[in-house]
């Protein structure tokens, strides 16, 4: 009896080695090698991971002066823009790891997925706690963090992040076995909830009077709508998670036509970069304002 795997049999049997495999292993092997720094030997991968992962600390770094001086004004004025935006960026970077591993065939950067996930949680927890303590909405801490629908979405994200962070270690992975992956897939729920959080935050995607971040007054409400930015980033991340798309990419890679994959995904990746630019711009400018303890309410 033939199986549906028959067309792939030569590949599975090792009779066909696509070029991608060789390239992937070379880069991963290169990253696994040590280099000498003074008297110690350091893995290239470790340095690369630190350099790529360090920016995820930026949101917390930007809020640190306000934290040490307990500056309520800075927290109430810009914690959502600094830590909230930081959490969104970390989520997108966390979600970017798997598609990039699939496209490049390299796996040395996969540990960044956990790191960005943890930093997303740290930023989101900080945002929720600070907003709960300093925002001016009625109803005490819970009223602030869950009193409006958009806040409820944010609160649900934070609640979901708790088990995700607790189980983001090898021990939990071993203990939970096959359930671990299912649990970690809650990340996708937080991704969806972030969309609802952002769409409800700013007038369901449309500027109405002062409802929406376009109220900054520079005449560009569309570019200020975080939901649009979220959509631009999510299209790439979502498309490359669809099973038929994954199969199509794998088939092209087996054929050695990786160029076709890169050409095809280039516009979607460009849209991702376009969306991320706005998030990163927001993070840098609002973050610097927060760091200087002169929060911007734009």
């Amino acid at each position: 009896m033939a199986t549906t795997r028959e067309p792939h049999a030569p590949y599975l049997a090792g009779g066909y080695q696509p070029k991608r495999r060789a390239v992937r292993s070379r880069v991963d092997e290169w990253m696994d090698k040590d280099f000498k720094f003074g008297d110690s030997h350091i893995k290239r991968k470790a340095v690369a991971l630190i350099l790529l992962g360090a920016p995820a600390l930026a949101p917390l770094f930007f809020m640190a002066p306000a934290f040490f001086t307990m500056n309520k004004n800075t927290f109430s004025g810009s914690v959502d823009d600094t830590l909230g935006t930081g959490a969104a960026i970390c989520l997108f970077l966390c979600l970017l790891v798997s598609p990039m591993a699939m496209l490049t065939g390299q796996h040395w950067f996969v540990p960044l997925r956990r790191w960005f996930g943890i930093m997303m949680a740290a930023s989101a927890f900080g945002d929720a706690i600070a907003a709960g303590l300093t925002d001016t909405f009625e109803g005490g801490f819970l009223g602030v963090v869950a009193g409006h629908v958009f806040e409820l979405m944010g609160f649900m994200i934070v609640m979901l992040l708790i088990p995700l962070v607790i189980t983001s270690n090898h021990w939990a992975q071993r203990k939970l076995g096959r359930y671990w992956k299912r649990l970690q897939q809650l990340t996708y729920v937080t991704w969806i909830l972030l969309g609802f959080h952002l769409i409800l935050l700013e007038g369901v995607g449309f500027e109405r009077g002062d409802n929406g971040s376009g109220f900054a007054g520079d005449g560009d409400p569309i570019f200020h709508q975080r939901f649009y930015q979220y959509g631009a980033c999510s299209l790439f991340l979502l498309t490359l998670r669809l099973q038929p798309v994954k199969r199509w990419i794998a088939a092209r890679q087996r054929e050695g036509r990786e160029w076709l994959v890169w050409v095809t995904i280039a516009p979607i990746f460009a849209l991702f970069v376009f969306g991320m630019t706005f998030f990163i711009n927001e993070q840098i400018f609002k973050g610097i304002d927060s760091f200087r303890e002169t929060p911007s309410s734009e």
């Binding site: 109220f215 007054g217 560009d220 631009a232 990419i249 979607i268």
Partner: protein, 196 residues
């Protein structure tokens, strides 16, 4: 048989191909539209600034100038939490000045700290030249109130502490007057905590 499965495999990847090409076309259209829209940013920005009365200012966002709405929003972001804090501390002081010297002094110390913090922020606020003079008067009135509150916090008895109240009321009224003038100049609606 294997031909059949090969066809199934091709159809399988064909669906993926259709999806990814459709998404790519959509993304390309959106990127081009976004870039085209971005080319008009400067004109839209100028139009918005003209419509909303541009105020010369070195904005941290790198904008060439700040609209009245932006300035008002920034001012409120400073004043609202500060007023909230001051009202809370003042209420704590009033509640304790009849029977608990240490608690009243502690509240007064908090008031002094909050006043100084507010003064620092107001001193660094990019008021437009038309409002700057009124804002300076507000800062001076606030500093006078803070000095008085600091003296009051050093009282050795409750009667001595309460003896400052008439002078504190006068200084507070002066602050309120200046705040009203600044609010009017910036066209800020009074909030509950700022209403006399």
């Amino acid at each position: 048989m294997s031909e059949t499965y090969a066809t199934v495999g091709q159809e399988d990847t064909a669906v993926g191909g259709v999806i990814i090409i459709a998404m790519s076309i959509l993304a390309a259209v959106l990127v081009i539209a976004g870039l085209a829209y971005a080319t008009g940013t400067s004109a839209r920005h100028k139009g918005a600034l003209a419509a909303a009365q541009c105020e010369p200012n070195l904005s941290p966002s790198g904008l060439q100038c700040t609209t009245v709405a932006m300035l008002t929003s920034q001012y409120m972001a400073i004043m609202n939490p500060a007023m909230q804090q001051l009202n809370t501390d003042a209420a704590a002081c009033t509640a304790n000045e009849g029977h608990h010297l240490a608690a009243a002094e502690s509240a007064l110390t908090a008031i002094v700290a909050a006043e100084h913090a507010l003064d620092t922020k107001l001193a660094g606020f990019p008021f437009s030249p038309t409002v700057a003079r009124t804002a300076k008067a507000l800062i001076q009135a606030n500093q006078a109130l803070a000095t008085l509150a600091a003296e009051q916090a050093r009282s050795s008895s409750l009667p001595q502490l309460r003896s400052f109240n008439p002078r504190v009321d006068v200084a507070s009224a002066a602050v309120q007057t200046e705040m009203t003038l600044v609010r009017k100049a910036l066209a800020v609606p009074p909030t509950a905590s700022q209403e006399p």
